[in-house]
Amino acid sequence: MKMATKITIDPITRIEGHMKIEATVDNGMVKDAKCAGTLFRGFEIILRGRDPRDAQRITQRVCGVCPAIHGTAAALNLDSAFEIADKVPDNGRILRNLVLGSNYLQSHILHFYHLAALDFVDVASVAEYKGDDQELNALKDFIVRGELAPFVPRYEGDYRFDVSTNQLLTKHYLTALEMRRLAHEMLSLFGGKMPHNASVVPGGITERPTVDKISGFFWRLNRIRKFIDDAYIPDVIAVAQAYPDNWKIGEGPGNFLSYGAFDLDGKSSDYATRKRLFLQGAVEQMSSFKVLDTDKITESVKHSWYTGDDAVHPSVGETLPNARKNGGYSWIRSPRYEGKVYEVGPLARWVVSYFGGQPEVKEAIDSLMKTAGIELKWMNSVLGRHAARALDAKLVADSMAKWVLELKTGEPVCAAFEIPDVAEGMGIVDGPRGALGHWISIKEKKIERYQLVVPTTWNGSPKDEKDQPGPMEQALLGTPVQDVKNPYELVRIARSFDPCLACSVHTVNIKGTKLGAMRVV
């Protein structure tokens, strides 16, 4: 009988931040899996006692890949604490959507091509390139010179595309660098700079729309829309056709949570019900739609390196690091909804909006299932997450092309406010990687407490107080591993979640996976 093998992948690279995966493989299958975030910075502790407005600037710095979503959630949080959530002018609402949407495009394109694709595409095929494309020939020269970092070392063994498809996808990898940069230019037109934009503030935004900015945004966006239609979506389909077994690995808990995103109407101050492009809600076991109830969110720390209570609401949770805690294995906490394990992210956002009856989402998913010849339940997989992310990019890009033309030059962008002596606030919204919540208590016009529950905290969470494994851990369980020395299946599953470790531990970063060192247990 074969002995079980423990695989440690640390660091897991091509994600944001510091993350580690440990998996025990027995008879060729994952029997136990642990995901760990390996960096803690302590944002909640650092925020205490500061001017509440500074939270909008400081929390953006949680993550340089998706700062705009923290900027948005923090602004919503402060709007709610300052009692101006229903006062943001339409220009301010739309410009915030454009800032956030641009960050979605940057993040999704970067994720598919620059973080995930190297698990499927063999860049080395460019050594055989015979055409006259300047970029591919530059890459060929690079390969011929023989110093192949940062493309080696890597896991070998499962590259299935033919040479010309590998070359085409590698060309798209290079074009995608330009596209994601262009998305940052779009954001910067209204955000001042990126990463870490300067313009989103409580009450709205500081930048005023002008005709040159509107048309400059629109035409940059059109270039990216063309890339999404001509490259991104076809390339995801190509990966699905070459790696169809990836519809069957990476099955998460099957429960999906979304806070919705992109405010279509700013007149309601209730973020859980206001009209958004993507719907707020929860779907349990791919069945029926449930209305979002933020009181049902709790966090636990039993297996995290923190001291504190289990199953408490984020508005009262505390961050007390305990780096040597017995039984702890991650800097990530364990958020749960109704005490159950929920996945967040583009897939969750699309499943929730699908069951909630969002017409554009319903049409796109139905069409995808027909084209790919899959059932809805297969979406709960590695390929399902990539497909949902690509559709997400398309719907957001197409929607932005309409929104940018709704801007009205010369009209206000920002509402006035006073900082209250005492207040509570909540800001909830889906970012590129899923449901993000910020909570604040203000006392004597200063931050008394600030708490964040971010997407990768949900997805990358360790076991909770009931020992239920987190979503990514569940997605790893039961995975067949062909070669424990090259466990490409496991990194494909981890990367399908687009983990963002800097975010996940508002204070903590996840550590990468180490795959090489195998220890027989």
Binding site: P11, T13, H18, R41, A149, L177, P195, N197, E207, A502
Partner: protein, 294 residues
């Protein structure tokens, strides 16, 4: 085929960071990120980025081995780039980079090991250069800048600070070009905070397009208003960087251009002494810099 190309090995490690510095580097235009990674970035010279956790193909122990083998095999030949500050409390357990031979490797230990034998260290971003956000009061993880870390560890490797939250891509590629063209910058090229004078030589305030409003006493009351943003907390009069002339993201905009205050993100006192970000700084501070306020 081109003539022989010399390889300049580089290692990039991240401590208490957010990846914003790396994402900003991806925004480089001329040279582009492709030019930096793939092409000889200057004739006959190629930067071989052997380790960068966000872009590299590999993962796990094999990539930690790359770090260790480069330090051992190429002493005084490789450039070490650090983003993020270095958490030193709890023996560095607040930031672990990976595992090697069954042992966890902390940022603290790896930064020390790799710094000692590097040709030079570039501290990229305000966290690495000056401590930045993670070192904000009460600094719960004992996060240190590379400069402070070198003092506690007795490391004397040449150090260049490229602050910014994040740094402009030109500041990073420009400094690398400087090293490849002229060698490690000397004291003439750096200010007292070890920043290249080429990028950090003048106050934002000196070149600000809204400076005329300041001199005329026309001040904005709200961030989106026209006028000088000084009364609502702009830190431009305190902040050394070329943002007003260089502009961001292919030159399309910058913070003050978008109607937002400069928050002084390139400065050591960003976030604590410059806080609150939306409140006016005191006039005594301005006098220190011999700037006329009216």
């Amino acid at each position: 085929m081109s003539a022989k190309v010399a390889e300049y090995p580089a290692l990039w490690i991240a401590g208490a960071a957010c990846s914003g510095c790396s994402v900003s580097l991806l925004n480089a235009i001329n040279p582009s990120i492709q030019n930096v990674l793939i092409d000889p970035v200057l004739p006959g010279k190629h930067v071989s980025l052997r380790f960068h956790a966000t872009v590299m193909a590999g993962q796990g122990e094999p990539v930690i081995k790359v770090l260790k083998e480069t330090a051992k095999g190429k002493p005084k030949e490789y450039i070490l780039i650090i983003d993020g500050s270095i958490p030193t409390a709890e023996d560095g357990l607040f930031c672990r980079l990976g595992e090697f031979e069954g042992e966890e490797v902390t940022m603290k230990d790896m930064a020390a090991e790799l710094s000692k034998d590097a040709l030079a260290v570039l501290a990229v971003g305000t966290c690495a250069a000056f401590g930045g956000i993670p070192s904000g009061a009460p600094n719960p993880t004992g996060a240190l800048s590379v400069m402070e870390f070198f003092k506690t560890e007795g490391i004397h490797t040449p150090l260049i600070n490229i602050p910014g939250c994040p740094p402009h891509p030109d500041w990073m590629t420009g400094t690398i070009a400087q090293i490849l063209l002229n060698g490690i910058p000397g004291t003439d090229d750096l200010d007292e905070k070890l920043r290249p004078k080429a990028f950090f030589g003048a106050l934002i305030h000196e070149n600000c397009p809204r400076r005329a409003y300041f001199d005329a006493g026309q001040f904005a009351k709200n961030p989106s208003d026209p006028g000088c943003l000084y009364e609502i907390g702009c830190k431009g009069p305190y902040t050394y960087a070329d943002c007003p002339t260089r502009q961001w993201n292919n030159g399309v905009n910058w913070c003050i251009g978008a109607g937002a205050q400069c928050i002084g993100c390139v400065e050591p006192d960003f976030q604590d002494k410059y806080a609150p970000m939306f409140k006016k700084i005191d006039e005594q501070g301005l006098e220190k810099f011999k700037i006329k306020t009216r």
